[in-house]
């Protein structure tokens, strides 16, 4: 390259940097892929708001939809709560269980949330944060779809829609129980 043209490298050098920054618009810095997909779901043993025990192992053989929420998570958790309740009622007789885990919250606010949305699926508080760490939860809401053999098959960050719920659950239900 002749020295005369070399000087134009200076303005041109700005282009890749600008392109990289432009790329930044397409990604969401807060979303991270989970390394847990495909791995066995961590077991937990919590207590529901009514005092009943809630353990993951007891759900072996069913498709589990594990949802992490908080009462202050507005608007996403408020939008997905009716979705979860609706689909829970539709699928509960088909071997699907929806479990809600409340994190970073106060008992009163959480109970109010459950009451307000008339949630009939089991909900428990993760008081020590261990369950949310075991599932690599970094925000709410997050939902995990666990198959009948206890493996995490999908993770959904953000509010769950009817579509997301049904697609994932139907896929897992279609798998053989063996």
């Amino acid at each position: 390259m002749t020295p005369r043209l070399l000087r134009w490298l200076i303005p041109l050098s700005a282009v890749p940097v600008l392109a990289l920054l432009a790329y930044g618009f397409r990604v969401n810095p807060r979303e991270a892929p989970s390394p847990l997909v495909g791995r066995p779901a961590a077991v937990f043993a919590l207590q529901t708001f009514e005092g009943a025990p809630l353990a993951l192992e007891a759900q072996r053989g069913k498709v589990v939809v594990l949802n992490f929420w908080a009462s202050w998570c507005y608007p996403a958790c408020y939008e997905e709560a009716p979705v979860l309740e609706r689909n829970w009622r539709a699928y509960r007789d088909r071997g699907v269980v929806v479990i809600g885990v409340d994190i970073q919250d106060t008992p009163e606010a959480a109970r109010k949330f459950v009451r307000d949305f008339s949630l009939s699926f089991p909900n428990a508080r993760d008081t020590t944060g261990r369950v949310s760490v075991d599932y690599g939860v970094y925000g709410v809401p997050e939902t995990f779809f666990i198959d009948r053999r206890g493996r995490i098959r999908a993770k959904h960050v953000g509010g769950v829609t009817d579509e997301t719920f049904r697609t994932n659950v139907e896929t897992l239900l279609a798998e053989p129980t063996g």
């Binding site: 303005p11 700005a14 990289l20 920054l21 930044g24 618009f25 990604v27 810095p29 892929p33």
Partner: protein
Amino acid sequence: MIPELGSAAAIVALALALWGAAAAAAGAGTGRPALVLSAQHAALGVFVLVTACFALLSYAFLAFDFSVRYVAINTNLGTPFYYRITGVWGALEGSIILWTWLLALYTLVVILRHRESARELYPWVLAVMLSVMAFFLLVITVAAPPFARLTPAPADGRGLNPLLEDTGMITHPVALYLGFTGVTVPFAFALAALITGRVGDAWITLTRRWTIVAWYFLSLGLLIGGWWSYHVLGWGGYWAWDPVENAAFMPWLTATAFLHSVMVQERRRMLKLWNLALVILTFGLTLFGTFLTRSGVIASVHAFTQGTIGAFFLGFLALVLLTALGLLAWRWDALGAQGELDSVVSRESAFLLNNVLLVAAAFTVFFGTVFPLLAEAVRGVKVSVGAPFFNQVNVPLFLALIFLMGVGPLIAWRRASPDNLRRNFLWPVAAGVAAAAFFWALGVRSALAVLTLTLTVFVAATIAVDFSRATRARLRTGERLLPAMGGLLRRHNRRYGGFVVHLGVLLVTLGVTGSQAWSVQTETTLRRGEHAELAGYRVRFDGLSASEESNHFKVAGAFTVSNGRVLGVLRPAKKFYPQEQSPIAGVDYRLGLREDVYLVLGDFARDGSHATVKLQVNRLVSWIWIGGVVLTLGAGLAILPERKKPA
């Protein structure tokens, strides 16, 4: 009514700015002063209109006008009066108005100072500044309108981000923005120099004080930001290498490099190309900084983002970089050095090395900040680049810079003879070695701390050597001590202003070293009446108290601190704001020259029977703030007009 007036004012200001930029450029190109005069009037008009915008927005805040969406989001009926004023620039739209207003202010001062003194460059400077203002006004009118209405108007607003309810909000953004916008002036002069072809020393001499002013406000903004982080954010630190912090730090690094390299151009007519490139880079980094803060492209605690505004800033950044760097390439031939050097051991080399290190540091910080984006683009993986990385890679660079800070001012231009080296550096080196031995004997075992302290002593010694030698020379002429020292400072205010600034930097270094090397902390849960001990302090938990404030609910813990004798009661609190999802930690601390005692309240039992508290003893942190004060004095000294007659 009021909001409509505000929107109208912004639109008219935009039109004026566009007209002014075109008129100034046309006037410069065709040599017609009437056009330039018209551009001046346009600039004045822009200033008046943006002031009006500012005033109208403030009025909307003070009057609780929740029909304006910006007001509804950032204030509520409980927001205290003074935070309704500072809240005006507390979020995106208002901060852009602040930025534009400061730009308009700078433009006015440039007009007043330079319309006579910089005949050839001035019209183009005006054109550039008006163009930059036009961009920000475009953002205000199109991308982030502050007067957008909210219908129906809510009965109460959401409220200011609680972290912003602090005196830091009054000073930190204003200081930082004064720095950011201040960089526009040397940049405008640089572009004017490139466009007119007058790439000699004129533009450097004219912008010398502007550069110091902008650099100073950047430094001040960073230091106040550190103070704010320390006493509000509840984590006991002052710098987290957050992407937005980095965004302000990078232009500071290149501005510091520029401050020094212009001295080489002034004295020796070298580094012309480099200086132009450096000031363009600095301005580009200020735009990059505002892009980062507003685009959400990189996650940050600071980022307050919205919609398409990121695209606007990226577009403008692209325009500025390609145009300015293109002009630089165009004028390449005129930018050769005209000086000659006899030896590599010389002040020119020291300054060159200073620039290499500062720009390398800026590049490192930049690369680290955008690396998550790069990793995602190239590999599709998410990575984090945080404090451990930045600390590890920057420390060696800064240590080398501190060493240069001692060498640079004293080493001779062109060629430093062995004699010159011996006379200037023998005592400081000896002092440094003695200091190293002293600290080692004192029990300091961290090699990094010893090295930093040794270099600090070395640099301080060089300043002392120079100042004492000069003073003694004056004393020989019969002058008395204090007038001699004062006269020296005044006569050579640039040099000694620089020395005082260096001293300020040394004090900041001392504070940073102390706090990083010797701070201790512990976290523990205490029952009422129980105490925790750390570094000779005993902290006893006395109980909780709750109170209802105007816009939040506060739970404060009372902790009695003693170290043999009772020092006082600290009340770190947790503040519950209705609009916030988690409580805001309120810290309490006891500052000291040697160490600060710092408490953060964690979880607590509702009945006040026990509470978790994080206790820190931070060493030497106060010297950072003291260093900031010294820095201010030094910058002030350096900007003083020069005395022509010997004092």
